[in-house]
C-alpha cells in the first residue's frame, strides 16, 4: 500500500499578488514589450502635446528654405514648400493616433457588442452576425474604402457647402471633418470583424467553462455572471487585440492617405508625407525616410506590445 507523502501538496505561502500586477511583472521582464510600451508612450505623449512640441507651424511655408537637409534648426529637414518636416511628423502622429483611437474604439464597440451577443445567445442571432462578419471580411478593404470615398465624399462636401451658405457657420467650411468622418467611418467598417470573432469565440469558450456552471449553481443571475465571470475573463485577449489593432489602424490610415483616399493634404499624415516624399526620394531621401521610419517604429512598437501583453496576461501559461 503506497501512501503519497503529504508534502506533495504544499501550502504556498507567497504573498497574494493581483493578476494585473502579476501581468505587469511579467511584461516588465519582456524586453521587446518594454520597448514597444516605451515607444507607444512617447508617441502618445507626442500626439497629445504636439502643438507645444513643434518648433514650427506645420503649415507655415518658407520658400527660402525649401528641401533643406536635416540640421539643428530643422531636425528632419524641410519639404518642397519649406515646411518643417519634424513639425509635420509630429502632427502626423496626432492624425495617426486620433484616427487609430477613434477607429479602434468604434470597431471594438461594434465588434464586442455583436460578438458577445452572438456568442451568448447563439442561434439565428449568431448566424446573422457571423454572416455579416464573413461578408465584411470578404470585401477587399481598399475597394470598400475607395467606393465609400468616391460615392460619399462629394455629396457630403456639397451638403456642407450648402449648410455653410445657409448658416454661414464656419464649422461647415472645415473640410477636414469630412475627411475624418469618411476615414473613421470606412476604417471602422472594415475593422470590427476581427473583434467580433475574437469576442464570440471567447464568450463561447468561457460559457462552457466549469466556473460558469459553478456560478450558476450558486444562484447568481445571468447579469452578474456576464459582468463578473464572462467579461473579465474575455478581457485579456481583447486588450491584446486592441493593442495590436491600434498599430494596424495607424498603418491602415497611412496606407489610405498614401493612396489619396484617407486624410488629404494639407493635414499632415505619415501616409501622405510618404506619398509626397516618394516622388523626390532620390534627391531628398529625408522626406521619405522621416515619416516612413516613424510609421515603421509605431507599427513595430504596437505589435511588440501586443505580443508582450499576450504572454503577460496568460498567467496559467507562464507559471
Amino acid at each position: 500500500m503506497s501512501v503519497v507523502p503529504m508534502t506533495s501538496t504544499p501550502i504556498e505561502i507567497e504573498p497574494p499578488v493581483s493578476l494585473w500586477r502579476d501581468a505587469w511583472h511579467r511584461l516588465r521582464r519582456n524586453r521587446l514589450a518594454v520597448f514597444g510600451l516605451a515607444v507607444a508612450v512617447i508617441l502618445a505623449f507626442t500626439a497629445l502635446f504636439g502643438p507645444y512640441l513643434t518648433p514650427y507651424d506645420f503649415l507655415s511655408q518658407d520658400l527660402n528654405s525649401r528641401n533643406l537637409a536635416p540640421s539643428l534648426s530643422h531636425l528632419f529637414g524641410t519639404d518642397d514648400l519649406g515646411r518643417d518636416v519634424f513639425s509635420r511628423v509630429i502632427y502626423g502622429t496626432r492624425t495617426a493616433f486620433l484616427v487609430a483611437i477613434v477607429v479602434t474604439f468604434i470597431a471594438v464597440l461594434i465588434g464586442v457588442t455583436l460578438g458577445a451577443l452572438a456568442g451568448f445567445f447563439g442561434g439565428w442571432l449568431d448566424r446573422i452576425v457571423m454572416w455579416l462578419t464573413d461578408m465584411t471580411m470578404s470585401i477587399p478593404n481598399l475597394l470598400l474604402v475607395v467606393v465609400i470615398n468616391a460615392s460619399l465624399k462629394s455629396p457630403i462636401s456639397m451638403w456642407m457647402e450648402s449648410r455653410y451658405l445657409a448658416t454661414l457657420n464656419p464649422f461647415y467650411r472645415e473640410t477636414i471633418w469630412v475627411d475624418f468622418l469618411l476615414v473613421f467611418g470606412s476604417m471602422a467598417l472594415i475593422s470590427w470583424p476581427p473583434y467580433a470573432r475574437l469576442v464570440r469565440a471567447q464568450v463561447l469558450s468561457i460559457r462552457s467553462r466549469p466556473y460558469i456552471t459553478a456560478a450558476q449553481a450558486l444562484g447568481l443571475t445571468n447579469r452578474i455572471i456576464l459582468m463578473r465571470y464572462v467579461v473579465p475573463n474575455a478581457l485579456g485577449p481583447l486588450i491584446v487585440a486592441v493593442s495590436a489593432g491600434l498599430g494596424t489602424a495607424m498603418v491602415l490610415e497611412s496606407a489610405f492617405s498614401f493612396l489619396g483616399v484617407g486624410v488629404n493634404p494639407p493635414t499632415p499624415s505619415w501616409g501622405n508625407m510618404i506619398s509626397d516624399g516618394l516622388r523626390v526620394w532620390q534627391h531628398y531621401p529625408h522626406l521619405l525616410a522621416a515619416p516612413a521610419a516613424v510609421l515603421g517604429l509605431a507599427s513595430v512598437a504596437f505589435s511588440f506590445l501586443g505580443d508582450g501583453l499576450n504572454d503577460a496576461l496568460n498567467p496559467r501559461g507562464a507559471k
Partner: protein, 344 residues
C-alpha cells in the same frame, strides 16, 4: 412476488422526511443520429440529515443527474421526463427566479474539478462573498467577515490572509477546500459533492472526507457524495446507490452493501477495491467490457452484455429496483439476485 414491490416501504421505523426525491428522471443528448438516452428514468432520494453515496464508473451519468436536477445541463443535453422534488417542490417546474434561490442558498454544490471550477480572475474572498450577498443579503463587510470564518471552518491556514488570493495562488487541496467553503457558504440543507477529492492525494482525500463529516454533523445537513471510490466513503455515508449506465442498480444501507453486495456489478466494484489502493485506478479490472454508449443501450438489463450471470430473461426484460432485504431498504435491479435473496 417479484412484482409485489411497487410500493416502497419506508427504510427505518424512524419517521424520515424526504428532502430530495427524484422520480423517473430521463436525460437525453442530441447527437447526429438523433437523441440518445444518457440517464434512463433514474429514481433517487435523500432524507433529511441523511448522507447518500453515489458510486459508478466514469461516464455512467452521476454528474449529469445532479446537474439536471438543478437545471444546469450544458447545451444539447436536456431532461425529457421525470421530476426532481426538493423539499416538496419540483425543481424542474420551478420559475427561474425561485430556482436561483434554491441554487446556492438551499442546495450547495462542490464541483469535480477544483482547478477549473473557480473563476480565475476573481479573488477567493469575492467568490465566497457573492452567494452571501445574494442569498443572505449581507453587506460586503459582513460577507467578508463570514468568508474568513468559512475558510477557517474548512481548515485553510491563515484563512483571513487567503481572502485576497487568486485561485492560481493556491494548491489543489486548498482550492478544493475553498470550493467546499463556497458550497457551504449559505448553510444549505443539501450539499452535493461531485467527486470532490479526485484531484487530491490519499491523505488529503481522507482529511476532506473527515471535514465534510464534521461539518455535516455540526450543521445538520444532508449530503450527496459522488465518487468512484467505495472505500473512501464507507465511513461517511448512510446509504449507497450504485449507478450503472444511468440507472440505479443497487440501493442499500452502507453496511448491508459491504456485507452483502447483491448486484453482479456491485460485486465487481467491491472486488476491485484492493487494487484501487495500489494504483488508484478507476477501471474495473474484475469486470470485462465497457458500459453501453448513449444510444446503444441493450433492450434488457443494461449490464447484461458484461454480466457473468446473465440469463436469457436478462436480454429481454429490464429488471426493476426491488426490495430484497433489510425490510425493503436493500433493493437491487437484478433478476438473479432477487431470486437468490428471496430463496434465502
Amino acid at each position: 412476488m417479484m412484482m409485489a414491490n411497487d410500493i416502497r416501504p419506508e427504510p427505518t421505523p424512524k419517521t424520515r422526511e424526504r428532502l430530495l426525491d427524484v422520480k423517473g428522471l430521463t436525460i437525453e443528448i442530441e447527437t447526429r443520429n438523433g437523441p440518445a438516452t444518457i440517464v434512463d428514468g433514474i429514481d433517487l432520494h435523500v432524507d433529511k440529515g441523511e448522507t447518500l453515496g453515489i458510486v459508478g464508473e466514469s461516464g455512467c451519468g452521476k454528474s449529469l443527474t445532479m446537474l439536471s436536477m438543478m437545471r444546469l445541463l450544458p447545451n444539447k443535453i436536456r431532461v425529457t421526463k421525470g421530476e426532481a422534488n426538493f423539499a416538496g417542490r419540483d425543481l424542474q417546474k420551478m420559475s427561474n427566479s425561485d430556482l436561483r434561490k434554491v441554487r446556492g442558498g438551499e442546495v450547495g454544490f462542490i464541483f469535480q474539478d477544483p482547478m477549473t471550477s473557480l473563476n480565475p480572475v476573481m479573488r477567493i474572498g469575492q467568490q465566497l462573498a457573492e452567494p452571501l450577498i445574494y442569498h443572505r443579503g449581507m453587506s460586503k463587510a459582513e460577507a467578508r467577515k463570514r468568508s474568513g470564518e468559512l475558510l477557517k471552518l474548512v481548515g485553510i491556514p491563515g484563512a483571513e490572509d487567503r481572502l485576497d488570493a487568486y485561485p492560481h495562488e493556491l494548491s489543489g487541496g486548498m482550492r478544493q477546500r475553498v470550493m467546499i467553503a463556497i458550497g457551504l457558504a449559505c448553510n444549505p440543507q443539501l450539499l452535493i459533492a461531485d467527486e470532490p477529492t479526485t484531484a487530491l492525494d490519499v491523505t488529503i482525500q481522507a482529511q476532506i472526507v473527515d471535514l465534510v463529516k464534521d461539518l455535516r454533523d455540526k450543521l445538520g445537513m444532508s449530503v450527496v457524495w459522488i465518487t468512484h471510490d467505495l472505500a473512501l466513503i464507507a465511513g461517511l455515508v448512510d446509504r449507497i446507490n450504485v449507478l450503472y449506465a444511468g440507472t440505479v442498480v443497487e440501493d442499500a444501507p452502507v453496511d448491508a452493501l459491504f456485507a452483502n453486495p447483491s448486484h453482479p456489478y456491485t460485486q465487481g466494484l467491491l472486488a476491485s477495491i484492493p487494487k484501487l489502493t495500489d494504483e488508484r485506478s478507476t477501471r474495473l479490472s474484475s469486470i470485462g467490457g465497457t458500459p453501453p454508449e448513449p444510444g446503444r443501450r441493450p433492450t434488457g438489463c443494461p449490464f447484461a452484455p458484461r454480466c457473468p450471470l446473465a440469463e436469457s430473461i436478462c436480454h429481454e426484460r429490464v429488471p426493476s429496483l426491488e426490495g430484497v432485504s433489510q425490510g425493503g431498504a436493500h433493493r437491487v435491479a437484478c433478476f438473479v439476485a432477487q431470486r437468490k435473496l428471496e430463496a434465502a
